[in-house]
Symmetry: C2
Subunit: 221 residues, 2 copies
């Protein structure tokens, strides 16, 4: 029983992969490089996480994503937003934030499914989190259900997409990961800096809140 785990190097996908491992799957890890600002740090975290899980690792070059442009994660002429009020104050999230890479999860999922089919995996595990995900439309349970239907039709398989954290928040994810023995020093979340977390981007803020709520010290901060 094999599962392909898409592992970004962030905490959510590391915990999702640890859940797959606990459920008894043999793990194959897949990571994407796409010229994001924090590419080298994230890739190192990926290799560390795969090593922790005894997983075979695949790294694919998805740098065409930077060619699409339109996101502050890959376009260095755009600024990563800091200390956004909308993040925690219940403001309407009508527009995706500037860190949104158009349909990034759809692209990553499609590629992951192709590799899963080739490698004979029954499932693809993802670290998607709906509530905590900066309002990206391709992080929703609705998207995931529809994508599953498309993938099963388009591959002629019953490959399942499993996002065990989709309805969790960052505090719960820290707790689950801690119970499963995830080494959070092998994860990285900042959108902006490769060297040390900026502490002010959406992703740093969400991570800090998660560790705060869980009452656990973040080994990376």
């Amino acid at each position: 029983m094999k599962a392909l785990c898409v592992i970004s190097g962030g905490m959510d996908s590391a915990v999702a992969a640890a859940i797959a491992r606990r459920e008894g799957y043999e793990i194959l890890g897949l990571h994407f490089d796409y010229k994001q600002r924090t590419q080298s740090r994230e890739r190192q975290c990926f290799y560390d996480i795969c090593s922790d899980l005894g997983a075979k690792s695949f790294v694919f070059d998805a740098s065409f994503i930077a060619g699409i442009g339109g996101s502050a994660l890959t376009d260095l002429s755009l600024e990563v937003p800091k200390n956004r009020k909308e993040l925690f104050e219940g403001a309407k999230k009508s527009e995706p934030p500037i860190t949104y890479v158009p349909f990034r999860n759809g692209i990553f999922l499609s590629i992951a499914v192709a590799l899963a089919q080739k490698e004979g995996c029954e499932a693809v595990f993802l670290g998607l989190v709906e509530e905590d995900s900066s309002g990206y439309p391709d992080c929703s349970a609705d998207f995931l259900a529809k994508m599953t239907a498309a993938i099963q039709s388009g591959t002629g398989t019953k490959i399942e997409l499993i996002a065990p954290l989709i309805a969790k928040n960052k505090g719960q994810i820290v707790k689950i990961g801690t119970e499963l023995g995830v080494d959070f020093s092998h994860t990285y979340s900042c959108y902006e800096s490769d060297i040390k977390p900026c502490g002010a981007c959406d992703s740093c803020k969400l991570r800090a809140r998660g560790f705060g709520v869980a009452g656990i010290k973040d080994p990376v901060s």
Copy 2:
């Protein structure tokens, strides 16, 4: 009104793009290089087709697809099947053929939609053909409908996937293309050789039958 047309260099996507043009869309052309055997010839056809349509052109490197492996289109250790009986004799198509690149259309579509969203396109046009398509599961109308639902959910847009040839056969496609003034000398179909069509792979056979049924001479053969 803008449409992103995924243009492989084959005849189907060239005709689909010509249909989009006739419907009044401004055309953006997108082509994928993925280390397929006939990559350089297909890319040249793509540029010629874009030039014929007055289209802005985008070429993305999708060579990670060769890294997935499992298809005779990209894996030079596998043989491209020749003169397959199943192609025309109504044999059951229970297994995808060895030229199948796992979920290739799903991957290409996901990337195309991301670019379409960035460029403000209302539609993505595709050359998918269900009946004539070597039995690939990601060439079906069912897949397309489900992928449309996934894409609209995952992008928060109403981008439409339009496959105007999905229910046509190659003979009809040659006729429609001829009526629209498509220059078929700017298209290429062979799976195996970059230099001249082998005449025996599935794709060459389907093309030859199409021109034969339409009673039109193929300028490439």
